[in-house]
Symmetry: C2
Subunit: 482 residues, 2 copies
């Protein structure tokens, strides 16, 4: 109980945030005289009521989270948000099963963006706004997790990004809180700029706000079944490409930028590696499309850039069905599902720095094979990579792949074909959104999947979002042993 009290206490704040989050959709519902008003008011009140016992769980001791409690807080918070997020969807959308509502909610909170809903074009705005808010909350949640919690918890080599702010000693705590505030400001600011840009490019104000939230969260929920393809406007695609890309960079660097430090953003190895990779893939694919498939170069560039960035940043918007672009493109998009953006952003996937460190290790090993006695050290952004970090990084890629493999196996047991199973598993664990094939591809819809597959994917999205180990550790006996 001593273990769980602080975990419960934190949920009071989570519930308060969720209660606050029901206000905008409720207002919209009131404005439109929509029947969803009651749903959101009810959900909000329920959150407030539940927050009371959670708040009382604090006890008299000062609040202090051990690493064990941090694991619990992380997973429990994401689950609470997911379940609460599902309630309005379940209540307000007739014919929606709880499985579907939860899938949609988790897909939102994990900023995946796979959807089981169709008829978005005519859906109540309050519901569309709620989906976007879930992604927006999930986005800021994951940044805070990546910057302040995971480095402290020794997950997947994230210690590489350990700063003073991931030091949770009492002395440092105010500093950490300041940083989290600064990140919040950057996140809100970026969202506003995105919304304004979309609006200037011709989107309606509601669409601009909703899409700005799902862009900055690299979530990918759109207000239309045709995703951003609905607008048929190259300027919107280019703007969206730009903001997805910006949202996949480490948010810490923007905080530095606010403090007038431009250098970190320019010299950061992760940023450079990421941008280089995006440019190379986009150029190769655009050239292939314009030369082999005889597409006009500008059209090819617009759509390739948009869809490549959308998948690589794990957003998951689509402007057209890129699976019709030929075998090479299909394979490329499958690989992009795994890549992901930079650590400390809203993007999911394995993340660029792990590939960089993997390649660094390959080079080192070659050297070692040649000069058996040599000692080779690695630096990343002027930081020495210890053996321990190296191992965590490589191990994470291994576990990520293993998780995808196991999930795909379960999906194939549910009767899905090989390509659908494998790509759906990858897109869920990587928090991307679309996979390959008719059902889970960019032109498909997850609604026709069997319930067992939806539950498995729901779990896969949560696992992927919380960097796998954070969740898995809760299922080991040692974790619960005092």
């Amino acid at each position: 109980m001593v273990l769980l009290r602080p975990v419960l206490f934190v949920q009071a704040f989570v519930l308060l945030i969720l209660a606050a989050m029901t206000v905008p959709p409720a207002l919209i519902a009131e404005w439109h005289n929509s029947a969803t008003l009651r749903t959101f008011l009810g959900t909000g009140c329920a959150c407030l009521v539940l927050a009371v016992p959670a708040f009382m769980a604090k006890g008299k001791e000062p609040l202090w989270l051990s690493s064990r409690q941090m694991y619990l807080v992380t997973t429990v918070s994401w689950c609470v948000v997911s379940v609460v997020g599902a309630i309005p969807l379940y209540a307000a959308l007739p014919g929606t099963t709880f499985t579907d509502a939860l899938f949609e909610s988790v897909s939102g909170v994990t900023t995946t963006g796979s959807t089981v809903l169709s008829g978005l074009d005519t859906m109540a705005q309050s519901i569309l706004l709620w989906r976007a808010l879930l992604q927006w909350l999930g986005g800021i949640g994951i940044i805070v997790l990546a910057i302040a919690v995971l480095p402290y918890l020794r997950i997947g080599g994230m210690r590489l990004f350990k700063t003073e702010s991931s030091d949770w000693s009492e002395k440092r705590l105010p500093r950490t809180q300041n940083l989290i505030w600064a990140i919040g400001v950057v996140y809100l600011g970026l969202s506003c700029i995105t919304a304004l840009s979309y609006w200037l490019a011709g989107m309606g104000s509601f669409d601009a706000i909703v899409h700005s939230m799902t862009t900055v969260a690299t979530g990918g929920y759109a207000n239309y079944d045709a995703s951003l393809g609905h607008f048929d406007n190259p300027i919107i695609l280019w703007l969206s490409s730009l903001f997805m890309l910006l949202s996949a960079l480490p948010f810490l660097l923007y905080v530095s930028l606010l403090h007038g430090q431009v250098t970190p953003l320019v010299t950061d190895r992760q940023v450079r590696g990421f941008l280089l990779f995006v440019v190379v893939v986009t150029v190769v694919l655009s050239l292939q499309r314009s030369i082999v498939e005889h597409e006009s170069i500008l059209d090819a560039l617009t759509h390739t850039t948009f869809n490549v960035i959308s998948v690589i940043t794990t957003t998951g918007y689509a402007s057209e069905d890129y699976l019709t672009w030929g075998n090479f493109a299909v394979t490329v998009f499958f690989y992009l599902t795994f890549v992901g953006g930079c650590s400390g952003s809203t993007a999911g996937g394995i993340k660029i720095f792990r590939f960089q460190i993997g390649l660094m290790m390959l080079r080192n090993q070659m050297r070692q094979m040649r000069h058996v006695q040599g000692v080779f050290t690695n630096f990343y952004n002027d930081r020495y990579i210890t053996d321990d970090i190296l191992r965590s990084v490589i191990a994470f890629s291994f576990y990520f792949t293993l998780t995808v493999a196991v999930l795909a196996l379960i999906l194939s047991m549910c009767g899905l074909d090989f390509v659908t199973s494998l790509s759906a598993a990858a897109t869920a664990v990587g928090n991307v959104g679309p996979g390959l094939g008719d059902i889970v591809g960019p032109a498909g819809n997850f609604s026709s999947l069997p319930d067992a597959a939806k539950w498995s994917l729901t779990l896969g999205m949560l696992l992927g979002r919380l960097e796998i180990m954070t969740v898995l550790i809760l299922f080991t006996p040692t974790f619960w042993r005092t």
Copy 2:
């Protein structure tokens, strides 16, 4: 030149072995009055002639191979055997391009078993024997490499299997040579027992000999287009399953067995893990087939056991088209392509011990996350796993996957669809044989692939067989710097 002289000298022996290998097919050709006699005589003589300058490269110093030269010897030897192996196929089979001949030869020497030839049922016996001999030679070659060379060269965590016999100091050399002889005896003995068993089960003597060679080499070349399905005999399938399984166990343990030591074979963790895995997969898949697909349990068990063992040991025989067994089976067979047998056997793939160590590491990391200050050590077969070995093992799985991914990308550029590209790449690098889909699946034939794809797969098979790094290091500038 000092670097290359000993490398050339070793090729003299390789060429002599190849010359000797042309004798049996030549005799068969003479017996059948086949026109292929000249081809084999010619190839044999060419080998003898080429061996002379290679032999003269020795110089006066005593022969001594540095690790650099061992890398070169390994790759060069496999290339020489591949090219010489292709000559009779190219010369004796009208309409066969050199690309096809080389693909078939490399597929043999690497014990992969993918074929571009069809009409095997009516092909000259001399050619069928030659293909089998290539696999047989490749099989013993890889065992010697895994036991005596790779542990010394620090490849992919193979140091875990370092014995006194992988010590190439002058003092130890006689011991190493003895061991290699013992391995040879075991290999020959196992082949003879296999051949005898096949013959007793009703195979013709020629078929029994040829299939025994490709079984023990876990190569998978068969004398019939329908592979072992041709015989339609469950006893042959069960015998073949048994001998494939035995050939995928570490051959060092058989040598211990010859010396009366039974314990190592029984207690070896790799052997236990491997057998357990095979049993679990076979049982699950058999049950699924007999319950869901309403297959008779005995039939399901026979064919599942045979095909699972065939793929997991990287042999690649087929008794029927297992791709028609449903989505779950397809996904399982795709995964099995990666698994492979035990280290120190003729099997390819990532190999069981690397998965065991990966899982061991996962468990450790969980413990470490829970007890930050704890120090956790790993043992494998009573041997302490150093950080260095751990890293090599995990890194190898990473590079293996990366190699498959790059190869699949190239294949998709050649126009192959996603499933064919991915599974063909995996089956080549894992040295298995069949992949998924109509072309590269167990019922397909690689002959219809474009030439560029064949060349890429040829390279992939060589890379996979030589544990990737052994070949890649030759392409780094540091390797050639003195």
